[in-house]
Symmetry: C2
Subunit: 232 residues, 2 copies
DNA sequence: GTTGTTCGTTGTACTGAGTACAACACCTTT
DNA sequence: AAAGGTGTTGTACTCAGTACAACGAACAAC
């Protein structure tokens, strides 16, 4: 199972088990689990038992499985790696009340971006992603801003760097538009991007102009709080 | 390694690897990691590589390791299992502004309780736990309330059931006092407990009386929203 | 310069752990 | 009563996982 070899197959199988669960299918029977990961039922049972011993999986009364609380704890430690929650969370809430759109912070993680923090808009029509979800770097404003300020060259990225922000509509998902600016920490090093997202029809030129100012003020405040230069 | 046998040792080793990380030691070198889990460096390296392939672990530039973003995603799915975040989160925020203390929701998970949601007080002196942390059931008001309404017998628990709430000061942690009430869902089945926590000196009889009313109103609202009886 | 220590990494040989299969008991449904 | 569906356990085979030792590269002490 280890693609290039030099790994531990059983561990990767266990990881696949965890990945079989989604927001919709948050509880799975042994058989269903075995079917999804394409392993024998007995194999899945033994791995699941070991995962459950560490609360990475939990067994419910009808013998089916669901994800365990340890994952929430570990996910929280992952988040604390960035040492930013105290500053970011209230700031996102403030952004939402000011702009009416959902606000989020994305950071680069390898060749993807991860939604690290998020605060949903109060409006009935709103964009709502999940914290921890990964998205491509080269699609959508939050990703492109990260690429631009990570030194990616190309006419688009040069423009973003010059403008200090970027906006896209329906690029990654036809249903959502987004407006993003960079956040810095420890001087000039990029921390990630701060973004507003919502339905494209609420991202008119006028709305963008108005929200951009609010967003940039927040981004500067954030950058300064994390020891970074305010940015261009 | 599987205590009673009938598990997969390599998987449990991998779980131990993840558990070696804490809020303080959020990044560990290979050697340190091997020391903590008491395994050979080569073994740890191979397991870590497999975990990293699934983003459960991430390698940083100096070759040390940290927890991966997939954990946040999975932790989020765990949380969504309870289908309650939309209702609970704003309610906790409201509780904090009304009472000035930190508010949290605990659910039973086996023979422990897990902090499922949490909103910190704005005050400089405040109790601040981590979402996903586990605590004993028989220490602290949130735990005892869960035991009482899960049918645990005994004079203390009979009293709690009769009163409809419980308060403790310094029982689990000498530094914190708490006030907790039950939450129900789907009729009479217990969902968990809703609690306020803070420094003991802010939990005078007067303060408790005042906050209890606010807490109970919130708990009833919550129970009804989740299809449960409002409770006694 | 050395010597010593740490770090991460790779190859090896051994053996015991992980695996798939089959059979089982227990349910419903037909 | 047969057929499908659970979850479970025991088995035997073999290959995957392991610890060990050795390596090169940094870095510090002297």
């Amino acid at each position: 199972m280890p693609g290039n070899s030099n790994g531990v197959a059983a561990v990767e199988r266990a990881a696949s088990l965890l990945e079989a669960f989604t927001e919709r299918d948050f509880t799975l029977s042994l058989g269903e689990l075995a079917r999804r990961v394409e392993l024998d039922k007995s194999t899945v049972l033994r791995i699941a038992r070991s995962l459950a011993k560490h609360q990475l999986l939990v067994r419910n009364e009808d013998a089916s499985w669901r994800l365990g609380p340890k994952l929430m704890k570990l996910g929280n430690i992952y988040q604390s790696t960035f040492r930013a929650s105290d500053i970011i969370e209230p700031l996102l809430a403030d952004l939402v009340t000011r702009t009416g759109e959902s606000a989020a912070v994305y950071v680069r993680e390898g060749d993807e971006r991860v939604c690290l923090f998020r605060h949903d808009s109060h409006q009935s029509i709103r964009h709502s992603a999940r914290v921890g979800s990964t998205y491509p770097l080269d699609r959508g404003a939050p990703g492109r801003v990260i690429l631009a300020f990570n030194g990616r060259s190309g006419s688009i990225y040069d423009e973003i760097r010059k403008a200090g922000f970027h906006t896209t509509s329906g690029e990654r998902d036809p249903q959502v538009a987004s407006l993003a600016v960079p956040i810095f920490r420890d001087g000039q090093s990029l921390f990630g991007s701060l973004a507003l997202t919502g339905p494209p029809d609420r991202f008119s030129d006028d709305a963008i102009r108005k929200n951009l100012e609010i967003l940039q003020v927040a981004a500067r405040k954030l950058s300064v709080a994390m020891g970074g230069d305010p940015g261009p």
